[in-house]
Amino acid sequence: MNDERPTDTTDPWEAEMSREFDHRVRHLHEAPLTFDHVKGKAMTIRRNRRIAVAGGILAAAAVIVPVAVLAGDGLGRTDGRNDFATTTPSPSRATDTNAPTPSEPPAGTLGISYLEGTTWHRADGTTVELAQRYDGGTTLGDDLLAVGNDNGRLSVDVIEPDGTVVESFDTLSYPVANPDHTTVAYVAPGGDLTTRWEGGGAAMSSGLADGDTVAAVTGGPDCNEEVDGCRVFLNHGDGSAPEAADSHGVVDVVIPGAVRINDVSSDGPVAAQTSFSDTGSCSAVYDEAAGENVFETCDFSFVGFAPDGAHLSGTDAYRDGFGQGWVVILDATTGDEVARWEATDGAATDWVWEDDSHLLIQAYEQGEWRIHRLGVDGSTEQVLASSEGDDLTPVFTLLGGA
């Protein structure tokens, strides 16, 4: 990292620029703003923020924000996911006044929220019956953001823990949450990169296209620069370099030459695909602060960091169409394989971190859908199974969060 100041340089253009800037302003000594000028403007800004929050309106923010990987996005779901829906969403998504109350919690089986058919299983063990099947989603705080895919048209229902649909909105991309599920980001119709958190939201950037997707969110919950700030990582559908948008209004290429961002650790490292071909791909974990790769590999493709950033899930560098025959857990600092799960007469279609040490894997094997738990110590166990559905219609949807 270069700590030299421009005065240390011998480049005449750098010196000339310094000189020109100094000359342009050397006689500007004014202080035109009084305290009342500043405070009056501050009060206006504060009023506008309150109106935006109270009205549920997403206020346009001057700053740009990062993205978090959506639980369940392990196989590039956001860029060409097959439509597995067996039911079409009902035309009306009005609040269901007859929403059933949550049932008594059975013994908890997964440590994260997941869907099984039309049942929302929450991490606390309670279950909520939903009015319809959904194709994916995530959680934001205690709420479920359930995604419906109607022939490529995506929509989101915001569902409270009692099953009430409190809001619906359209989206061009699947919402992605930050690691603690306190902020989500998505591309809204019209191309605004939109974030939301409990009690607020902001448009972080604009001009995105249909096909652009959110890869990861870090920071939050409040993405305003003067509160928490956040950073949203984007993959572009046109193949241009992935970018990150932060709370200061800066949108920048994350990794020169990267093809796609898979995930971003809460500690900072970025897991990205660096190249691909007909026979495979190469990937790297990149340290932005250092400006260099932590490690590279053409043996694995990456999916997601564990919550503590110590491990990284992955699979074959060559992705087959239906699913993957094996899933690995890698040491996130060395790239060494520490655990592996292999399918029995089938393939894995999705996997999500349950906690720092366990990965939940959904697979279709021997005619049924199963959830397996793979530990960083190499332990494996089958947790759930269902013979419902067929090999193209996953029964379970792993959400992450509460």
């Binding site: 990292m1 270069n2 700590d3 030299e4 100041r5 421009p6 005065t7 480049d11 005449p12 253009w13 750098e14 010196a15 000339e16 620029m17 310094s18 000189r19 020109e20 800037f21 100094d22 000359h23 342009r24 302003v25 050397r26 006689h27 500007l28 000594h29 004014e30 202080a31 035109p32 703003l33 305290f35 000028h37 500043v38 405070k39 403007k41 501050a42 206006t44 800004i45 504060r46 309150r50 929050v53 109270a54 346009a60 001057a62 700053v63 604009s206 620069e225 003067e226 932060d246 709370s247 200061h248 209004g249 800066v250 920048d252 290429v253 020169p256 932005e288 602060a289 400006g291």
Partner: protein, 188 residues
């Protein structure tokens, strides 16, 4: 969203605390405003927009004053907001003139200052994208290191390097060759 009115017995204590806070902020305003205005002018290239950017940035600082004033550098926080505000100007549809035509209120000193070369340089700087312009202003006016610039802007050092490199390349390409500072050095 309604805010509950503060109980009357708390008003007096909050009043003196708020006064102290405002006095502290006012002292900062008096001490740092001229310097911040100069930076805002270099970022925007326009005096009116500079004042607007500065006013909004200081207002946001005021709202965050209790959190920010304990940081090592309040100026860095304000610069970051100013860069962001300037970046957002185009989204509001502001028309930015290509060249700075505003006259600075005071006279420029005429010494060995080469009007021809530096006017050309200034014009090139003003055509830089807002983000790139922010990087070169912090580097070459504020004299920050690449690491400090990256930290203020919340970007990587690599981005700082690339933005500066592109700006310098633009100067080399677009400023007439006979005004190249390297040639003028050789002529001396």
């Amino acid at each position: 969203m309604q805010l509950a009115a503060r109980p009357r017995h708390e008003t007096g204590r909050m009043g003196s605390k708020a006064r102290a806070r405002d006095e502290e902020f006012t002292a900062y305003l008096h001490a740092r405003q001229p310097s911040l205005l100069r930076t805002a002018y270099l970022l925007t290239g326009d005096r009116n927009q500079a004042e607007d950017v500065l006013q909004t940035s200081l207002a946001k600082l005021y709202l965050a004053w209790d959190k920010v004033r304990d940081r090592d550098s309040v100026d860095a926080y304000v610069r970051r907001i100013m860069v962001n505000e300037n970046n957002s100007l185009w989204r509001r549809g502001w028309k930015k003139r290509e060249f700075a035509t505003d006259e600075l209120p005071d006279r420029e000193v005429r010494d060995a200052y080469d009007e021809g070369a530096n006017d050309a340089l200034w014009q090139v700087v003003q055509t830089l994208p807002a983000k790139a312009r922010a990087v070169v202003v912090l580097r070459y006016y504020e004299q920050m290191s690449e690491a400090e610039t990256a930290d203020v802007l919340g970007i990587s050092v690599g981005t700082v390097k690339s933005q500066c490199s592109r700006a310098l390349s633009a100067l080399r390409e677009r400023v007439p060759a006979d005004l190249n500072p390297r040639h003028r050095e050789e002529d001396r």
